[in-house]
């Protein structure tokens, strides 16, 4: 395996610094929300994690199409990396949402359209990894994975638009929310700056993790080929 590219090393350092800066902005720069108090600060990373999760699933969707067109194995590696990172961030999003909901909605969980579609989406992609575990042949696994990632992506726009098309208790950050939504608030300039910076930070974090994960996938592939050569 070749040494880590210099760009990736720099990107990793920049990511850590940005994450530290975003955390400082959340705790010390963004003002305390007038009604919800401290728990509102979870919102900045909750939305950013949700965005990153969906970004991961989108990468897998694009990689799936690219694999079916080119049959190049690198796209399978990109696809599984996207799903894996997407799952991690969607899990963060769902759990932090539940923690926020306890004091605001007075319940840990409710089968609201957004919570339900997000959970289904998470389970759909968890099943993607299970499907891959069950297929031995690498080409067949890549083909199944690509098709599954494309079809599974239907759950992403459904989750994103669920709070915009169904009656819901979940607040809408961008665009008008439902009249029944509980926990909505108007953002001040400092809140908006913190929110946007958190989104950018998590996007950079996603790119960094994806790059590392793709390098790991390529390394695992090389070892697999070496193993086959030795066994032949």
């Amino acid at each position: 395996m070749t040494a880590q590219p210099k760009t990736l090393k720099i990107l990793t350092v920049v990511t850590v610094l940005m994450l530290a800066a975003a955390s400082l902005m959340v705790f010390f720069y963004a003002p305390l929300e007038a009604v919800m108090g401290q728990v509102q600060k979870v919102f900045y990373f909750h939305v950013a994690a949700g965005w990153t999760g969906m970004l991961g699933f989108f990468v897998a969707f694009v990689a799936g199409i690219a694999y079916l067109i080119t049959h190049k194995h690198i796209w399978d590696i990109v696809g599984v990396a996207g799903v894996e990172i997407g799952l991690v961030f969607m899990l963060i999003c769902i759990i932090t949402g539940s923690i926020w909901a306890r004091p605001i909605w007075n319940t840990w969980w409710t089968w609201d359209p957004r919570l339900t579609t997000a959970t289904i989406m998470e389970l759909v992609y968890a099943a993607y990894l299970m499907l891959r575990q069950g297929v031995e042949d690498p080409d067949r696994r890549a083909r199944f994975g690509a098709v599954y990632a494309i079809i599974g992506f239907l759950s992403v726009p459904l989750t994103f638009f669920s709070i915009r098309i169904f009656r819901t208790i979940h607040p809408v950050v961008i665009g008008g929310g439902d009249a029944d939504a509980t926990g909505s608030f108007d953002m001040t300039a400092k809140m908006l700056q913190t929110f946007m910076f958190s989104l950018v930070t998590f996007s950079v974090l996603f790119v960094t993790l994806l790059w590392h994960r793709i390098r790991m996938g390529k390394f695992a592939d090389q070892l697999e080929q070496l193993k086959m050569k030795l066994l032949a």
Binding site: Q38, K41, T96, R213, F219
Partner: protein, 44 residues
């Protein structure tokens, strides 16, 4: 709602840390495998 905020951030950084450790652990396992395979290749 301070307790909930602390719990929320513990979850955020906790899950990230677990994923990071899992990545590093898999890297190390792959490196060990690579060393082993190189040894076998030399013997062949």
């Amino acid at each position: 709602t301070l307790t909930y905020m602390i719990a929320g951030f513990a979850v955020i950084f906790g899950i990230m840390l677990i994923y990071l450790v899992s990545l590093l652990s898999r890297w190390n396992n792959l490196r060990k495998d690579a060393d082993l395979l190189k040894e076998l290749e030399k013997k062949e």
